[in-house]
């Protein structure tokens, strides 16, 4: 196998940055949809790392995983959006900070 032009480490580093951005997004955003998107960012950071490692190892396992993650992410979003719609109907808000009924 020939040496890659861009080393795997850099891909992983990028993915880590993306992951952290995703995490921060979840933490800082109040809008539910933006939060979902941040989660997607985290998942895709994982995907990037998987792809990079797949390249390093030269086998298909990582790619396989990537496909599944993408599929699952889509399913998650579907459910998530449905939930958001439902909540919007009852609360007229998709601010996740409004969800704090349980406090004892």
């Amino acid at each position: 196998m020939e040496a890659s032009e861009v080393s795997v480490e850099l891909y992983v580093l990028l993915s880590a940055v993306l992951f952290i951005m995703g995490v921060l997004g979840v933490l800082l955003r109040r809008n539910a949809i933006l939060v979902f998107m941040s989660v997607e960012l985290m998942l895709n950071a994982g995907n990037l790392a998987l792809a990079a490692f797949a390249r390093q190892w030269g086998n298909g396992d990582g790619h396989l995983m990537v496909f599944f993650v993408m599929t699952v992410a889509a399913a998650e979003v579907a459910v998530g959006l449905a939930l958001i719609v439902a909540i919007f109907r009852t609360k007229q808000s998709i601010n996740i900070d409004d969800l704090h009924m349980f406090k004892d």
């Binding site: 992983v12 993915s15 992951f19 995703g22 995490v23 979840v26 539910a32 939060v35 979902f36 989660v39 985290m42 998942l43 950071a45 994982g46 995907n47 790392a49 998987l50 990079a52 490692f53 797949a54 390093q56 190892w57 086998n59 396992d61 990582g62 396989l64 995983m65 599944f68 993650v69 699952v72 399913a75 998650e76 459910v79 998530g80 449905a82 939930l83 958001i84 439902a86 909540i87 109907r89 009852t90 609360k91 996740i96 969800l99 704090h100 009924m101 349980f102 004892d104």
Partner: protein, 504 residues
């Protein structure tokens, strides 16, 4: 170059309890469309029947009455059909069966009698079963999502009820967040080992143990992030915060089911990843896995926090939320024990036994809470059990049994579970955490006994609503709790067979 594998190569026979049910679930989904709204009991019955068939098959395979398939691997190692997975199947299916039974009338009560409930429940059960059987991180991840997503929906099943929706939303956001960690963790493990197959990882870790430090870093960070994802599912401290809120907000029948199912799935995956996949990843010169200390610390904190905080609760659903956190801690002891050489199988066995015991007991507890719950979701405060022993002696007796089981008093299933867990800790020389375990068991007696005392020693008026399926569910739970406690060899005979296909 590319051959289409035959069914024989896939070894489908070994996977039948799971795959049959999967087909069944899809079928019911279709059938349900043609069942009129006022006859949803047909769906319920169908679901129960499907679960029943699968349960019988799993039991037969677990006890070795039938040995289908060729070897313990199916689908080229993606699916592992070893005894452990059969045990997980049994626990999951039992929970599902009881879940259906407690749900039917409850759904009527809250006016949400829908066919979706049943097949969503079936799908999460499938998720649990696949998790227990996953031989690859890919299947593990997918089945985790299969377990989680229907649960998010079920938590919000009572919409447009605010609390239910809120709990679904919280569960969903945090669950997805945790999934992100899991995916990233899987990526890192893959990066370290070059494979997503657990067998492959197991083989590779031996090299890593004496390999480069950076690879060790990669593997351990990956393991840590995987732990976050799975720890969230089982509600281990500090990933437990969602538990009480979701338990309180979600429909009680869902809680009854998921408090066990999510744990079964989560622990099955933990056993697969930690107990098998990276179980022999020890640093040079160590006899125990590098991650062992982390897990037992988490176990300790989980037990301490779960038990202590539960004491302060007065809302039963919240209380048992914390109680379920505490029980996650006990099972984590066994996971930690799996990190010692030679204890893996014993630990997996302990987890499986604990899960079965917990399935009976905890579903039973929530079934009793369902009986207490009123239409407006009130009636689940601890004060509501006052005087239960006089108005409903049998119900109170069952609840007492569950309480003793959760406390770990002998002759109940809970004791057998704790016995095996602590025993595995002893085998792994994890004495400090075992000490914490028994001491927190004592703490747990505080709040479990308080419920008994409210039922028996206090006077009070309690209305209960006990339709027949619910009564049967409670009966089965109680009998199961008692039988497993009195004749634990039923469990242990099975348990002796419980071994992992690899690992240790």
């Amino acid at each position: 170059m590319f051959e289409v594998p035959g069914l024989g190569d896939l070894n489908v026979a070994a996977t039948l309890p799971v795959t049959l049910l999967a087909f069944g679930a899809c079928l019911f989904l279709l059938v349900d469309l043609f069942i009129p709204k006022d006859r949803k009991y047909i769906t319920a019955w169908l679901t129960a029947a499907g679960i029943g068939v699968s349960l019988v098959l799993s039991l037969l395979m677990l006890t070795g009455v039938i040995t289908w398939g060729d070897g313990e691997e199916a689908f080229f190692g993606l699916f592992i059909a070893d005894q452990f997975s059969q045990a997980v199947n049994v626990a999951a299916l039992l929970t599902a069966l009881l879940g259906v039974m407690v749900a039917y009338n409850y759904l009527d009560k809250i006016d949400r009698q829908r066919g979706e409930y049943y097949y969503l429940l079936l799908f999460t059960t499938l998720g649990v079963m696949f998790m227990g059987a996953s031989g690859d991180l890919v299947t593990l991840f997918v089945s985790l999502e299969l377990l989680s997503i229907p649960l998010y929906i079920l938590s919000g099943f009572r919409w447009p009820h605010e609390e239910s929706e809120e709990s679904a939303m919280k569960y969903f956001i945090l669950g997805a967040f945790a999934s992100g960690f899991l995916v990233y963790g899987i990526a890192l493990i893959y990066g370290a080992t070059g494979t997503t197959s657990l067998t492959g990882i197991w083989e590779a870790t031996a090299d890593i143990s004496s390999g480069e430090t950076s690879t060790k870093f990669l593997l351990l960070i990956g393991a840590g992030m995987t732990l976050v994802g799975l720890g969230f599912k089982v509600a281990a401290v500090p990933f437990h915060m969602w538990t009480p809120d979701v338990y309180q907000g979600a429909p009680t029948s869902v809680v009854a089911y998921m408090s066990v199912a999510a744990k079964v799935g989560g622990f099955a995956a933990l056993v697969r990843v930690f107990g098998a996949g990276i179980s022999n990843f020890a640093l040079d010169g160590d006899t125990t896995a590098a991650w062992q200390d982390t897990i037992w610390l988490i176990a300790a904190f989980t037990m301490i926090l779960g038990n202590f905080v539960a004491i302060a609760q007065s809302e039963l659903k919240r209380l048992f939320g914390y109680s379920s956190i505490a029980h996650a801690g006990y099972m984590l002891i066994a996971i930690a024990a799996a990190g010692s050489a030679g204890v893996t199988d014993e630990a997996a066995r302990a987890v499986a036994i604990y899960l079965m015991a917990y399935a009976f007991t905890n579903v039973g507890v929530f079934a009793v809470i369902i009986a207490l719950e009123k239409k407006d979701m009130s009636g689940t405060s601890i004060d509501n059990v006052k005087g239960l022993a006089t108005s409903q002696p049998l119900l109170a007796a069952a609840m007492t049994l569950f309480m003793f089981s959760l406390t770990g008093i002998p002759l109940t299933a809970g004791f057998v579970g704790k016995w095996f867990v602590f025993k595995s800790a002893m085998s792994a020389d994890l004495i400090p955490v075992a000490v914490i375990g028994v001491l927190t068991s004592l703490v747990s007696a505080f709040y479990y006994l308080r419920i008994v005392w409210y039922m028996y020693f206090e006077e009070g008026e309690t209305e209960t609503d006990l339709p027949r399926p619910l009564a049967w569910a409670i009966t089965i739970s109680a009998v199961g709790t008692l039988v497993l406690g009195v004749v634990p060899y039923l469990l242990s005979e099975m348990a002796n067979e419980i071994t992992l296909a690899f690992g240790g």
